[in-house]
């Protein structure tokens, strides 16, 4: 029985199947918001309100011809999309929306899981770089270099801002952090600055406008994905969709008070809060133009990092005051 439960947990809910359905829904939501902000309709045809469009896109890509370049490192090239998908799906198991017991830490909720989630969310960036490098295309190579350069910009502010609420809550466990803020909701206001910094950093992590530099189509064609096609590209796109869900779920846990109220109410909390974060991300995407790679790094270190440090200071001082 335990084996069946574990399998269901991994494959159906909250594992791959749920993540697949929910992340495609989030992609639909993102596309729809982005389109409405641009005076367009967005997906309308496939399914009701075009809800099935991302799934249709996924299956269409799966059926397309899959080309592996002659000069590439074939084994690495093939295996990277699968690893990427596995990594972000694993991160999805750790969000405290399902199957956790505050009193008894388990395999999916333990002290230090916030670090593990952050680590698992950093891995796709490195995987992208490796994918770009192994495809040996000049455009991919430039894209890969840009992925890493950007990583040095946004990663530090993201870590600092996500860890400062944890410091205030005095816990490294996501479920406990969320429970702390559910008990004292007013303290969430002190993390507002950190939330804004984290939203911008997540936007950069997900490589969306204004940070879609590694795959800026007008400059370097497909960038990191230039040589990817068919199944592998579909998996990469799914990876990004799931990463969008996980990142917004992480922000919702840390900055918006988590998902209280048991399985059903907690799940509604999860949907509403992640969609709110995704709405902010779409807004940012519609309102800005792509900036240059040097501008990203200088922006991150001139503005994001100092603000993140400020947030950290606020958290530390507040903790001193409270105790």
């Amino acid at each position: 029985m335990a084996v069946v439960r574990t399998l269901l947990y991994l494959v159906v809910y909250p594992g791959l199947l749920f993540l697949f359905v929910y992340s495609t829904f989030c992609e639909w939501f993102d596309r729809k918001v982005y389109a409405r902000l641009q005076n367009r309709m967005g997906p309308t045809h496939t399914g009701r309100f075009g809800l099935l469009q991302p799934i249709a896109d996924f299956f269409k890509l799966m059926a397309k011809e899959d080309i592996v370049p002659e000069a590439s490192d074939k084994r690495l090239f093939t295996v990277l999309p699968i690893i990427g998908l596995a990594v972000v799906s694993t991160a999805g198991l750790l969000l405290p929306v399902w199957n956790f017991d505050l009193a008894n830490p388990g395999l999916t909720s333990f002290s230090g899981d916030i670090i593990v989630v952050l680590y698992l969310l950093s891995l796709p960036t490195l995987i992208l770089f490796l994918a770009a490098w192994s495809s040996t295309n000049p455009f991919s190579t430039i894209g890969g270099a840009r992925v890493l350069t950007m990583l040095f910009g946004y990663e530090v502010p993201l870590f600092l801002t996500i860890l400062s609420p944890a410091i205030l809550a005095d816990s490294w466990r996501l479920a406990e952090i969320a429970a702390f803020y559910q008990a004292k909701p007013l303290l969430l206001l002190t993390n507002l600055l950190g939330f804004l910094v984290a939203v911008i950093a997540v936007q950069a992590k997900l490589e969306r406008t204004p940070f879609d530099i590694p795959h800026a189509e007008t400059e370097i064609v497909g960038g990191t994905f230039t040589e990817y096609s068919g199944k592998k590209l579909a998996l990469f796109r799914l990876t990004f969709d799931i990463e969008l869900v996980i990142s917004s779920g992480l922000l919702a846990t840390v900055f918006l008070g988590g998902f209280p109220g048991g399985a059903v109410v907690g799940f509604i909390h999860f949907v509403v809060k992640t969609l709110f974060v995704i709405f902010l991300l779409s807004l940012l995407r519609a309102l800005t133009s792509r900036i240059r790679i040097d501008q990203v790094v200088s922006f991150a270190w001139k503005y994001l990092a100092p603000l993140a440090v400020l947030q950290l200071l606020v958290a530390i001082l507040l903790k001193g005051l409270l105790s």
Partner: protein
């Protein structure tokens, strides 16, 4: 590490084939080489086979965006050769369409600039508003792209009161929207951050490299054929030459939006002061021997047609110098020392119309890169020989 990045002949930033070979060092461009000749259509040769009237519709097809510019430039020249004076009402309608075309071209360009900078919302908004002017053009001429309103000695369609009112109404909406875009283009931090100080082209370089149109005007060089050599109706109209002195892509955006506002003014003046009378006079079938150079300020810059007549009903020679060609040397200068990220922006900032400027092909051996000059008959012989030796084609099979 220095390596070559091929931008084109096929590239998402380019809507037409051209080859920009960039030597880059990291993200910085160290050397640029532009190769043309991927889209040669032999239009000038074809023009020698067609009569004066047919050629209007041929030269209109040189470009899809400034189609009216080429047709008008040609018609102006031929009318000078024929010593025809078109009626003033005809001229007003002809240049009204010119200005509407400038509006549609500049709105299109603004959208493209937004798209190249990754600012897709800007692109969607400007292209939505471009529909207003496209509808006006369709209402006036019956066509959205190749208006075919020109004829030798005037225009082919008249304007009525209802149409005039609709044009004025459209101009009011467009002016309001353009002012908003001016605000966005000059103030949105991420967009301005991308275009300010990019693709610098100082004024002395503009003069030395003979840049034309908004590219030259954005570097503070107020060259505009409409003002300095007023043709047809432009002497009677009140407008200013828009310039900027920042010498960069931001300046080129500003110049084009200012020109949009000037064009609305011009359109309103022309519609309000539309003289009464005929719209065309009858043109002779043949032209006396002679030659003429016709200049016209197209949306992209000065357009030049050279026409030579030999007394028959066909031109002996038609030479077209599209504005894009004049801007290529300046582009090379602008691209040097820039970032890879700026290539599409800088190149798009001259508003390139690549196939308009294609007047020659180069034969290059794919293996050795050796260039050669070959007679047409030899080329044909080679093609036949190659075709005969080629393996028999079978039906294509799609592997599942």
């Amino acid at each position: 590490m220095s390596f070559q990045v091929p931008i084109g002949p096929q590239h998402p930033a380019l809507k037409e084939p051209i080859s920009l070979r960039m030597t880059v060092e990291g993200e910085v461009i160290t050397d640029v080489d532009i190769r043309l000749g991927y889209n040669h259509r032999g239009l000038e040769k074809l023009a020698e086979e067609k009569n004066w009237i047919q050629n209007i519709y041929l030269v209109e097809r040189i470009c899809g965006i400034c189609s009216h510019s080429h047709a008008t430039c040609y018609v102006q020249g031929v009318e000078k050769l024929m010593e025809l004076a078109p009626p003033r009402r005809g001229l007003y309608i002809r240049y009204l369409v010119s200005e509407l075309e400038r509006i549609h071209s500049h709105l299109l360009w603004l959208g493209v600039a937004g798209h190249e900078a990754g600012f897709d919302s800007f692109f969607m908004y400007t292209w939505r508003d471009r529909e207003i002017v496209m509808d006006l053009l369709e209402m006036i001429s019956g066509n959205r792209v190749h208006y075919a309103i020109n004829t030798l000695g005037g225009v082919r369609r008249d304007l009525d009161e209802g149409q005039k009112a609709k044009i004025l109404e459209g101009m009011v909406t467009l002016r309001k929207r353009s002012e908003y875009y001016f605000h966005i283009g000059a103030n949105e931090p991420s967009f301005v951050g991308r275009i300010a100080g990019v693709g610098l082209l100082p004024k002395d370089k503009v003069v030395a490299l003979c840049a034309v149109g908004p590219t030259a005007r954005a570097s503070g060089w107020a060259r505009d054929v409409r003002k300095e050599d007023p043709y047809a109706v432009y002497g009677e109209l009140d407008f200013e030459v828009a310039t900027a002195d920042t010498c960069d892509v931001l300046g080129r955006v500003v110049v084009r939006v200012k020109e949009l506002l000037e064009s609305y003014k011009l359109c309103e003046q022309m519609v309000r002061n539309l003289p009464a009378g005929d719209i065309a006079v009858k043109a002779p079938r043949k032209v006396k021997p002679g030659e003429v150079v016709s200049r016209y300020e197209a949306p992209r810059g000065e357009n030049i047609h050279y026409i030579k007549a030999n007394g028959t009903d066909k031109p002996e020679r038609l030479k077209v110098r599209a504005p894009t060609l004049a801007n290529y040397p300046a582009t090379v200068e602008m691209l040097r020392k820039g970032f890879i990220a700026d290539i599409p922006l800088i190149f798009a900032a001259i508003d390139p119309c690549i196939c308009c400027a294609e007047r020659a092909v180069t034969l290059v051996k794919a293996g050795s890169g050796e260039e050669s000059v070959v007679r047409m008959s030899d080329l044909r012989r080679q093609a036949i020989a190659r075709h005969q030796n080629a393996p028999v084609k079978r039906n294509a099979v799609w592997p599942l």
